[in-house]
């Protein structure tokens, strides 16, 4: 049967033992893509989905019409948030290995997505993240300690022990509760944006999902409803090339960019170098201005790479070459912004080392404080009575009975 099959089966660029081959990634030169007006009709700017907006060139200069002309101070803040995200991630991964937390997922290699995009939005904009957007929390100023308490499911866990690590939320920070179910947040963000429009606000919603998650129905619903009602929303696809072991070709990436999905629905799709902090910032600003000025939704594809394992439960050496990330043609977002700042004369290796040490210390201090509120295995524990709360606003009789039963059992 196999031999006569005519089915097309997408191919990964390389498997373990093979040489990474990233020739499939279509890359535009920095500065090459024009920046349309924010009121350009979707039909006129379809090419944005097939090119790649880039600002930083190979010499780490910022060039072209998308150059956002940020202050060096802002760039340094961006660098700091990205670095903090990475150091936080690394520490948490280690803590998972040591059995302090049950599970973890890093954003390694894709830190610019959350940090640059969040900086381009207003604090009043509502964000609907996926699980690899911890950078949004950090950029909005969430204390690491709060994130750690969540990952520890301890007595200060914002989720009251109910969610896996990394499933954060922050009501005051306008960061929505994360779901274990992929893509569900995408059309919810559209609904939020529809409500903002109905209320006549100029706030907007933004959401993220992985390229693998674009296969879910919720991706389609989001694009459709956003287009039909012209909702003020930015729909972001973090294309890090992998969905666990599955190459982006199985999500439809062989045929076409993911940004190109937008056009058919009538919303502009724009593809950007997601490891280029400046380009990512600029594209997000452009999409936000569109939304805020009543020109509707935008679909953004951020081309990046999942530098590490999918999660602490994963072992990528089983399905892709070990040196993949080193050979990834769009480089590392932190390194690239660092070099750009150095080139601007606004940064140095020494300052970088100092910053890193400072942030490491910050992570250490935060961890110390966080663990003082308990870990999965030690210290104070959340009250098991909480198990029955928040199923409903008010606890119905049957849950009260069950709560009493559990209390009795615990003696």
């Amino acid at each position: 049967m196999t031999t006569k099959s005519r089915l097309h089966v997408p191919k990964a660029h390389a498997r373990p033992g093979e040489t990474p081959d990233f020739s499939y990634v279509q890359i535009s030169p920095a500065g090459a893509v024009a920046r349309p007006e924010i009121n350009a009709p979707a039909g006129d700017i379809a090419d944005l989905a097939n090119s790649m907006v880039r600002v930083l060139d190979e010499e780490h200069r910022a060039i072209g019409p998308w150059h956002p002309h940020l202050d060096p101070g802002e760039l340094q803040i961006g660098l700091r948030h990205m670095l903090l995200t990475r150091l936080y991630d690394n520490r948490m991964q280690r803590m998972q290995r040591q059995g302090k937390i049950s599970f973890y997922m890093r954003a390694y290699g894709e830190e610019a997505v959350s940090v640059a995009q969040c900086m381009a939005l207003r604090p009043t904009d509502m964000l609907f993240p996926a699980y690899r957007n911890q950078g949004l929390q950090i950029t909005r100023g969430r204390p690491l300690e709060a994130l750690m308490c969540q990952a520890l499911s301890n007595t200060r866990d914002m989720c009251k022990g109910r969610q896996l690590p990394v499933m954060y939320h922050w009501k005051e920070g306008n960061l929505f509760t994360q779901s274990g179910n992929l893509a569900t947040q995408f059309p919810q963000a559209v609904g939020w944006a529809m409500a903002a429009a109905i209320k006549g606000e100029d706030r907007l919603a933004a959401s993220w999902l992985g390229e693998g998650s674009t296969a879910e129905a919720d991706f389609h619903y989001a694009l459709l409803f956003a287009a039909v009602y012209q909702a003020p929303v930015i729909l972001n696809i973090t294309n890090n090339q992998w969905a666990i072991s599955t190459f982006q070709g199985f999500a439809g990436g062989e045929q076409r960019s993911f940004a190109a999905r937008g056009g058919g629905y009538g919303l502009p799709g724009i593809r950007v170098d997601g490891n280029d902090f400046l380009a990512t910032y600029a594209v997000t600003t452009w999409a936000a201005e569109r939304a805020r000025n009543g020109h509707g939704p935008t679909l953004v594809e951020l081309v990046t790479y999942r530098g590490g394992a999918h999660s602490t439960s994963d072992d990528p050496s089983r399905y892709r070459p070990k040196d993949d990330y080193e050979l990834w043609p769009l480089g590392d977002p932190i390194e690239r912004l660092k070099q750009h700042l150095i080139r601007l004369g606004e940064w140095s290796d020494e300052r970088h080392a100092t910053l890193e040490a400072e942030l490491e210390q910050h992570v250490t201090d935060s961890w110390k404080r966080a663990t003082s509120y308990g870990t999965l295995t030690e210290g104070p524990r959340l009250d098991p009575d909480l198990l029955f709360e928040d199923v409903f606003k008010e606890m119905p009789e049957h849950l009260k009975r069950q709560q009493a039963q559990l209390r009795a059992l615990r003696g």
Partner: protein, 338 residues
């Protein structure tokens, strides 16, 4: 007070709430300009504008998902799913999201969405316009689930549902829209005029979620049921001349177990009746809970009368429908047992 059929009562509930609370918005397929295929939303777009009564794409999952997002931003969406048979594309957003937002976010986020949908058979709708899926929602913690059996309850419960801070699945037995149905399709349709529950206040009032109602008092046996079957059970008890107490569950979640068990302790016998497929249906929960609470009072096994474990076939609608004959047979069986 006015005489209303169930469609008018539901329309009046929506109208009342839209007038009182500007955050109430309606959405669904054909609900706007047209007023809904059953006309429950008739006139409301004209009155409240097309920004509060939204026609939606034919995407049940998208309707519920965007309703969640709207509710998170402070609106009170009432989403119509055109037929309960078409609610399954939204099942993931309902089960994994709507029902769990509050829990997973430690109480910080929640979405008070009401999902209205016509359910049940008896209108020659065939296998895809007749389903009663209450069981696949009752099992999902975090959802409230109600099914009214008359205009008065329909309006009062819908107002309560819209005001409720939790999501509510609001199931409307479509066979009752225009009148009560006593289980005999050969008899001419009855209007709600003659039924006491067809009298409905014009303005605001509520019927609490979580309370069953005794639809008929009796001492010999308890019939626990809801929706269309409340009326069919009445007819059956009447025909059989059995002094049955009939309890209209009304609120499937939360369930008013106290009212049920009190009755069964009194009568010592019980049957459970619903239109949905029997196997794995909500009747199982009712029987299990009642037998646990009333075991020492029971003089006969609790029997279930329910839809057969098949789809609802077009040509055999009345063979499928758990009508008076089956209810009477069950009543006799529990009455004779000893």
């Amino acid at each position: 007070m006015a005489i209303m059929n169930m469609l008018q009562a539901l329309n009046s509930a929506l109208d009342t709430m839209m007038a009182r609370d500007s955050s109430v918005v309606l959405m669904g397929e054909d609900v706007g300009y047209f007023g809904g295929v059953f006309r429950v939303t008739e006139g409301l777009q004209r009155k409240y504008g097309e920004h509060r009564v939204l026609d939606s794409p034919i995407a049940e999952g998208g309707i519920v998902a965007t309703a969640i997002g709207m509710a998170v931003h402070g609106l009170r969406p009432v989403a119509e799913i055109q037929f309960a048979d078409y609610i399954y594309p939204a099942y993931d957003q309902i089960v994994s999201e709507l029902a769990r937002l509050r829990y997973r976010s430690g109480g910080d986020f929640f979405a008070p969405v009401t999902i209205r949908t016509p359910c049940g058979g008896g209108i020659r709708g065939g296998q895809t316009h007749s389903q009663s899926p209450e069981a696949v929602f009752a099992h999902v913690c975090g959802l409230k689930v109600v099914m009214p059996s008359n205009p008065y309850d329909a309006k009062g419960l819908l107002i309560t549902a819209i005001e409720d801070e939790d999501p509510v699945i609001f199931l409307e037995p479509k066979r009752l829209y225009n009148g009560p149905f006593y289980g005999d399709p050969e008899k001419p349709a009855q209007p709600w005029n003659d039924h006491p529950k067809g009298e409905v206040p014009e303005g605001y009032y509520t019927v609490p979620i979580g309370q069953a109602e005794i639809a008929r008092e009796g001492r010999a046996v308890t019939i626990v049921t809801y929706g269309t079957m409340v009326h069919v059970a009445q007819a059956a008890a009447h025909t059989a001349g059995i002094d049955a107490e009939i309890i209209d569950v009304r609120s499937i979640v939360p369930l008013d177990l106290a009212t049920l068990t009190e009755s069964v302790k009194k009568t010592g016998r019980c049957i459970v009746v619903h239109e949905a497929t029997g196997f794995g249906g909500f009747g199982g929960e009712l029987v299990a809970s009642i037998q646990e609470a009333c075991f020492w009072h029971l003089e006969a096994p609790i029997l279930r009368v329910a839809g057969w474990d098949t789809p609802y076939p077009h040509a055999f609608e009345w063979e499928y429908f758990p009508g008076p004959a089956r209810i009477i047979a069950a009543l006799k069986s529990v009455m004779e047992a000893s």
